[in-house]
Symmetry: C3
Subunit: 269 residues, 3 copies
């Protein structure tokens, strides 16, 4: 089913150490940078309207997360997304809490015009983004991944992009091909901004594997899934989990990823 072993995508990431331009929320900045560095990408956070276009243009990928939005940042996000579109640089949209306020909905609508390569969110966010009944009260997922699969496929077809719904079970689609992925650990939602970091990691994988955005994104999800499971085995709580997750991402091998695919932990829908 996969065109290449999943581990090849991790090898490509580490060979390229792609520069990922992150315009992300304040809560996630430090943990996102550390997640990327641990796995093998090179993060850079900057957001000034005076320089985002210049910087996006020299980046391997762009990752936009609207978590702690404000008007100036929204303007910068739009400039960066337009630059990415014009320069054919892959970019990822993480529509945090898009269902919660009108301000977020308006920005996401404007961002979608610039055709993200990948959208990653929790089930509530993907449903809200697709215009379905948004049940999201905030940043947590209250809808299940299963319920959001139809919304994800619809979004992927409408915007010709990859859509990843992550949660207890992940679902990822390009509108035609779909995968489900289990793994991770129940402590993951008890550590803040892991999903935000995953969005940026997806950007890194797609930067290093531009011809295969679906499989590259799946590889990023598989990294979190395997590393999360391993971290959970030795964690005493969310503090030690976060430490162990960074270590596990660093220690992860391409063989680990290829194995998970062969073991059919990844299923076609």
């Amino acid at each position: 089913m996969l065109s290449r072993p999943l581990g090849d995508y991790l090898s490509a990431l580490r060979d390229a150490t792609p520069l990922v331009h992150c315009i992300t929320n304040y809560v996630a900045m430090n943990s996102t940078a550390n997640l990327l560095l641990a796995t093998g990408a090179s993060p850079a956070m900057l957001h000034a309207q005076e320089e985002v276009a210049e910087f996006t243009a020299i980046s391997g990928a762009l990752s936009i997360n609207i978590g702690t939005l404000s008007a100036h940042w929204a303007d910068a996000m739009l400039i960066a997304a337009r630059t990415a579109q014009e320069q054919h640089i892959p970019w990822v949209l993480d529509p945090v809490a898009v269902g919660a306020t009108a301000f977020r909905q308006q920005l996401c609508s404007a961002l979608l015009v610039h055709q993200p390569s990948v959208i990653r969110g929790n089930a509530s966010e993907i449903q809200a983004l697709n215009g379905l009944a948004g049940q999201g009260r905030g940043v947590d997922a209250t809808a299940s991944t299963h319920e959001a699969a139809a919304a994800a496929i619809s979004l992927a077809q409408q915007y010709r992009c990859v859509v990843a719904v992550t949660g207890e079970e992940d679902f990822i689609t390009n509108g035609t091909d779909h995968y489900r992925l289990k793994g991770g650990h129940p402590l993951m939602p008890r550590v803040t901004t892991l999903g935000c970091g995953l969005s940026a990691l997806v950007a890194g994988f797609v930067a290093a594997n531009r011809t295969q955005p679906l499989e590259a994104s799946l590889a990023a999800l598989a990294c979190f899934s395997i590393a999360g499971s391993r971290a959970g085995q030795q964690a005493q709580g969310p503090g030690s989990f976060q430490v162990a997750l960074l270590d596990a991402l660093y220690q992860l091998t391409p063989e680990d990823l290829s194995t998970i695919a062969q073991m059919e932990a990844v299923h076609a829908v």
Copy 2:
């Protein structure tokens, strides 16, 4: 003395997983979110003037911390505080370094008009807020908790709220009833923004226990006190302390809290 065992307040927090709208400083955002998630609340950080009123209105509580203040954020804090007051949503004020600059004093004066449910600060901040001789040079506590008790009682009576002074020893009052609480660990001031996180945790406890703001706030302080002591027993320094603190908050049981009360680690003044 307590109307219910202290552990009941923790049970209520975990049952409700209240959404805590945090408008807090950049330094504290990540650690505050993790402290809330570890204990059992659900944090959300957002601050745009375009959306704070909308979001405060759907939150269980609001927590405002003025640490890395700027003019736009000050405006948003005032909108959110007014919304909380109008909608009868509990809110907590953390007046970081209020004694250090005129800008902070002016904002805190304006925020107090909207009647916070709880004020939490270190001794220097509580004294400065009460208009007493501010000795605060910055974000550290240089006054002792003992010296700040009178200021806390005065503030609590003037604004009809709970005031918590935290430090080596904590003091908490609603103007009529007072408690002292020992515990914690000398490494706590060597980890940044634990006090900021505690303010947000107080907001979570009050959200889940709205009829008893004094005892709910005391329960939050007791969580930090017990978890801090336990983390200190296994820490090698501030790095491992922070990790162990999150694990200890996650592992904390209602019985742990009730026991500390019965053991009279909490004393009426």
Copy 3:
């Protein structure tokens, strides 16, 4: 060669616990505060134009890092730097990714007018700052420390300041006297913003040792070098490394620093 044992500078830091006013990037704020607290300084992050002059004036030192720059912040950095210059308060410039965009180059040029006491950057940044062929693509060092030594000496002479180039090998100079320092660990570049934190720590050391900025800065670098080596010995990856680094900085003794100097781990060029 050294006027005092290197450990004396650490003793002075811990005796003075200098207040370090940090205007730094969002990614680095939390980790910088923790690095300073672990070692023995007292950090404070604030950046509003309304209050930076007032706060810089009561600080022991100022540390400016341009990582996540924007126009408002640039204005505040200039106010703070001018205040430091006027009040003879030592200040440190960390010119993150100065070679990447015109916006950064313009700001750094304007900041240099206010005569920093110390400039700390990676090799790419120091070369870009000196107007040499900037090869920096972002926040990572792609030039070697060795190649940047000439640029560092040139900058130090031009601005009469200390210049520190850090990386696998550190080079530090005041234009006349130079030191090289090895140590640290290969995991250090896999943890985000350690360099940013080091800049602020340099500010703390210079605040506590104002008459000897070169040796004080060298002591800060030596702390990172020794603590980094020790942390690396017990780390399983970047997550546990960061935890162990904070613990090691906390546990570091003046004797540790004096020993590294006697062992000639520090060499005059």
